[in-house]
């Protein structure tokens, strides 16, 4: 039987109605809730403080002032206090917390919106199905202590998240928290919530919308501006939330329109569109947004939420592209047409009377968007509307440039636009072709030119040949890692024989174009790391090809074993990456995860060599995802724009007493190697990042073979990319068995000569030197209560 959320009356209880919020299955009721179910801010604070003691927050203000309240602005330079008594450190921590919280809210609000929509369509009792897994919602279970079975079970999860978000947001008010460390604890809390919010959003869409469920061999789809057939009407969807777009695809399916209309997505909506229907195509990540609009190719644009440029309506209107807004978060000042007839709306948009329409009736959106595309397509193609200059204008514009450099100072990446203009004026387009790849399409340069040159358009025109060739392949987002895969690979990860999981995620704010993450991924794949990816990064990885014209997705398959490349899905699918570490703890190590965040994070920190790389992270969402990883014990590396997030968590390897750990078997303390060395750090170049990733995969739990493999990669990549044997390689050596085989002798010599270690050269054994010995049964922990026999 099924009882729905409802009100009903029970006999003999007069004048009383019972409001049933949620029907609890007996299974759930019996489930232990664990030590910290639905933790409040302070419940996991001890864990945070342990992390923060070792990985100290380091602040890099983007601004020395605070402008929160009318006591200010206040000048906090040099860690001075503002008028409310806050100092620079605490303010930076607060600001980072607030920005991260905005990211948490973005994901959770997306989850709530989608859940409301899916409950309306499928009912609260629609069962969760994520593929071959008993452990379906690892984050939810670890944080909340409940095991959701239906989508309605996520209602109290979101209630909890929203309550905590409100509590956290309150602390960003003037006159609340005064301690930087406590703001960090709050930021970590926000990060944790974020992962759960993402988990909710992705699980419900995977369950209800038939997206791939832990499927390793998902199909490949086309990606790239060059892959869209612009002779057809082009319907472009931008954003992250599939709710409205699903109706469009349903309508197109029902009316056989996939042949007649190119349905293309931009940003994460694109991932989710392909997960829903493989006939959809992907234009690319956020960096293509303005570029693609300016090309004039889209005939209709549908926006939902997140990572949608604020100027979409302005830009689209200039090119007569109607915009349909579908979400409270982005309304662009448009009139709400939800109650109007589709035909009337189409009429208003075709005639240009209205630049766009706002609709909350998704049935109507589903019908309107394709029908409108069919009408607008021919009209717009006829008119040949584009913002790009023609050849003659291009010549004129590039020649009018005075090389003043204003645009260069306006460009966030300081790209040499002036030089490219000069070269192009002389007929040489190579600089524009190079620049195009590095340009993230932000459009700031446009506002700076005293000559009024529409710079981005000129760049695009200059690189047009190149852009037409922009075609690649992306493997459709697969969703979670299934329990069987964990069973197969868990051991290798914990012992280190699979050298690590490298999660290449986040946005396209790369320092030097997207080619870098392609090279990084390729290098790590060749070295048998598991590379998982999502969001914009997953798209950009599919844009590059090897000499044989193959993308990485075509070269590497998608199962969760060493040396494979897994596209997890959209931004919200990132939850499955962190959840994977929980699954290892639960399935491989048999830990009880229910409401047991601290223990699981402690496990992950010390045993699972997973590292996140958010090389182009720009967003507050990426920030909070990273911070959430950190609370769970997963280190994260950012690109050189990363310090603008204001805060990193850095370890000090030379500070030996920060690296003491307990052995859970007896509480004895061991001084361990700094593994992982940092929790949140940035790097300047791809060459710097590769050995860093290898190093951050070390874990105290590595067995000899695992450590040997990891050390080999660390040393090899250091030598390859930095030209040296790293000067800290030896501190990761616990015995000769840890040494890379091929270099064993050579390294033993170094240990003797340069570090004064004692070597038994007959047996090729280390006699003295290492901080600690390998002990396969060492149970590293940072949490006193987890020591055997400890009483809380």
């Amino acid at each position: 039987m099924s009882i729905k959320k409802n009100r009903f009356t029970i006999e003999n209880l007069e004048n009383v109605q019972i409001n049933i919020g949620r029907v609890v299955s007996s299974h759930e009721a019996k489930e232990s809730e664990g030590p910290t179910p639905a933790p409040e801010i302070h419940d996991l604070r001890d864990w945070d403080m342990k992390l923060l003691e070792r990985y100290e927050p380091v602040y890099s203000p983007v601004c020395d002032m605070c402008c929160y309240c009318t006591y200010g602005k206040c000048d906090l330079t040099g860690n001075k206090e503002g008028a409310c008594g806050i100092d620079m450190e605490a303010h930076q921590a607060r600001e980072t917390m607030l920005k991260g919280l905005t990211g948490t809210a973005a994901h959770s609000a997306h989850g709530r919106h989608l859940l409301n929509n899916l409950i309306e369509r499928f009912g609260e009792d629609f069962p969760i199905d994520v593929g071959p897994s008993n452990l379906k919602a690892p984050l939810t279970q670890t944080i909340m202590g409940i095991k959701p079975e239906t989508i309605g079970d996520f209602i109290p999860v979101l209630d909890y998240i929203e309550e905590q978000i409100t509590q956290l947001l309150a602390t960003a008010h003037t006159g609340q928290e005064g301690s930087a460390l406590d703001f960090e604890s709050k930021a970590l809390h926000a990060g944790m919530l974020d992962h759960m919010g993402m988990e909710v959003a992705d699980i419900i869409q995977v369950s209800c919308l038939g997206m791939p469920k832990s499927q390793e061999d998902t199909p490949l789809v086309d990606i790239g501006m060059g892959s869209i057939d612009s002779t057809k009407p082009v319907l472009l969807c931008i954003g992250h939330n599939i709710a409205a777009v699903a109706y469009i695809m349903d309508y197109m399916e029902e009316h056989d329109l996939f042949d007649k209309i190119e349905l293309a997505g931009l940003c994460c909506t694109a991932h989710d569109m392909t997960r829903y229907n493989e006939n959809a195509k992907i234009v690319g990540p956020m960096s293509k947004q303005l570029k693609y609009i300016r090309s004039g190719i889209p005939d209709v644009i549908v926006v939902d939420e997140q990572c949608v440029r604020a100027d979409v309506l302005r830009e689209a209107s200039k090119l007569h592209i109607p915009v349909i807004a579908t979400n409270d978060k982005i309304m662009y000042g448009l009139s709400n047409r939800s109650k109007d007839e589709v035909d009337d709306i189409i009429q208003d948009l075709i005639s240009g009377d209205q630049q766009g329409a706002l609709l909350f009736d998704y049935e109507k959106v589903g019908e309107l968007a394709p029908r409108l595309a069919l009408k607008m397509g021919p009209i717009r193609k006829e008119m040949g509307i584009t913002a790009l200059p023609d050849d003659e204008e291009f010549k004129k514009l590039t020649s009018s440039c005075s090389q003043c450099g204003a645009c260069v100072i306006g460009c966030p990446n300081g790209l040499d636009i002036d030089k490219a203009m000069e070269a192009a004026a002389g007929g040489d387009l190579t600089l524009f072709e190079e620049l195009h790849d590095k340009c993230n399409g932000c459009g700031r340069c446009d506002f700076e030119c005293p000559k009024g040159i529409p710079i981005l358009n000129v760049i695009e025109k200059g690189a047009l040949k190149f852009i037409r060739e922009e075609k690649g392949k992306v493997r459709i987002g697969r969703g979670q890692i299934g329990d069987p895969e964990i069973r197969e690979e868990g051991r290798n990860l914990v012992l280190g024989t699979t050298p690590g999981i490298i999660a290449i995620v986040g946005c396209p704010n790369y320092p030097d174009g997207s080619h870098d993450i392609y090279e990084i991924a390729e290098e790590m794949l060749q070295r048998s790391y598991i590379v998982v990816t999502s969001g914009c990064s997953a798209m950009d990885l599919g844009m590059h090809k090897d000499d044989e014209g193959k993308t990485l997705y075509e070269r590497y398959s998608g199962r969760f074993i060493k040396g494979n490349l897994l596209n997890i899905g959209s931004c919200v699918s990132n939850a499955h990456i962190s959840a994977t570490t929980i699954k290892v703890a639960a399935i491989f190590a048999g830990r009880d995860i229910n409401g047991n965040f601290e223990e699981i994070a402690d496990y992950v920190l010390n045993r699972i060599g997973a590292v996140g790389l958010a090389w182009g992270a720009y967003s507050q969402k990426a920030l909070t995802i990273g911070t959430g990883c950190n609370r769970l014990g997963i280190p994260v590396v950012l690109g050189p724009h990363g310090p603008k997030y204001r805060r990193a968590y850095l370890g000090k390897p030379y500070n030996k007493d920060k690296w003491n750990m307990m052995d859970a078997r007896d509480g004895s303390v061991q001084n361990v190697e700094p593994a992982p060395e940092h929790m949140l750090i940035s790097a300047e170049t791809k060459a710097e990042v590769m050995p860093m990733l290898a190093k951050l995969c070390f874990r105290p739990s590595d067995n000899n073979l695992g450590r040997m493999i990891k050390l080999t990669h660390y040393i090899e990549m250091s030598e390859k990319y930095l030209g040296v044997l790293p000067d800290d390689w030896y501190i990761y050596v616990r015995s000769e068995a840890d040494l890379p085989l091929a270099k064993k002798e050579q390294l033993l010599k170094k240990l003797e000569e340069e570090h004064g270690w004692k070597i038994d050269w007959d047996k090729k054994k280390i006699l003295e030197g290492p901080t600690r010995k390998v002990d396969v049964s060492f149970q590293p922990t940072n949490v006193p209560r987890l020591v055997k026999g400890a009483t809380e």
Partner: protein, 176 residues
């Protein structure tokens, strides 16, 4: 052609337009004065980033290293420096500023921290942000002899033309 007078204090606006941190911004410094300040430092550290492909920069680093200024090779600069036979220690710049903040850090040579950080050859925004850590949380003097104006330094060149840049660096070296 008579050489133009070199003025490294001109055009001292943040190279990223919006990189205006607040009331305290670097003084634009003449190359000679920058050299003097460096030569007066008790424990200077030359911090090199990955943007050192411009002709002439590596020679300058070499000269400075030869004058006894220890070199921290951040980013992926080490390979290039090694190739030129320059003695340097690799360190990640983000980590480095956190060490510099730590009064207990013993430095690369074990003799203690540094009183002056000299920045050269960096990805602009990356170095700028990490100077901000030093500026706000340490007493270390920050001297940028990079090609672009760095507001978070104490002393910085303005935005220089490539040719002036190398000339300026030569002037700096002459003071050491």
């Amino acid at each position: 052609m008579a050489a133009k007078v070199l003025d490294t204090t001109r055009n001292a606006v943040p190279f990223d337009r919006a990189n205006v941190p607040g009331p305290k911004m670097a003084k634009a410094v003449q190359a000679e004065m920058a050299g003097k300040l460096i030569s007066k430092a008790k424990r200077p550290l030359l911090i090199i980033g990955s943007a050192i492909s411009e002709e002439g920069i590596v020679d300058v680093i070499k000269s400075m290293a030869e004058k006894g200024i220890p070199v921290a090779a951040t980013g992926s600069s080490l390979k290039r420096l090694k190739d030129e036979g320059i003695e340097a220690s690799y360190v990640n710049l983000h980590a480095l500023v956190s060490y510099l903040k730590d009064p207990n850090w013993k430095g690369f040579d074990g003799n203690g921290g540094y009183d002056t950080a000299i920045f050269l050859g960096h990805t602009y925004y990356y170095a700028s942000q990490l100077m901000s850590t030093l500026k706000n949380f340490t007493k270390i003097k920050i001297i940028s002899i990079d090609r672009h104006y760095h507001p978070n330094a104490q002393q910085s060149f303005g935005n220089l033309k490539p040719e002036d840049f190398i000339r300026a660096l030569d002037v700096v070296i002459a003071q050491l």
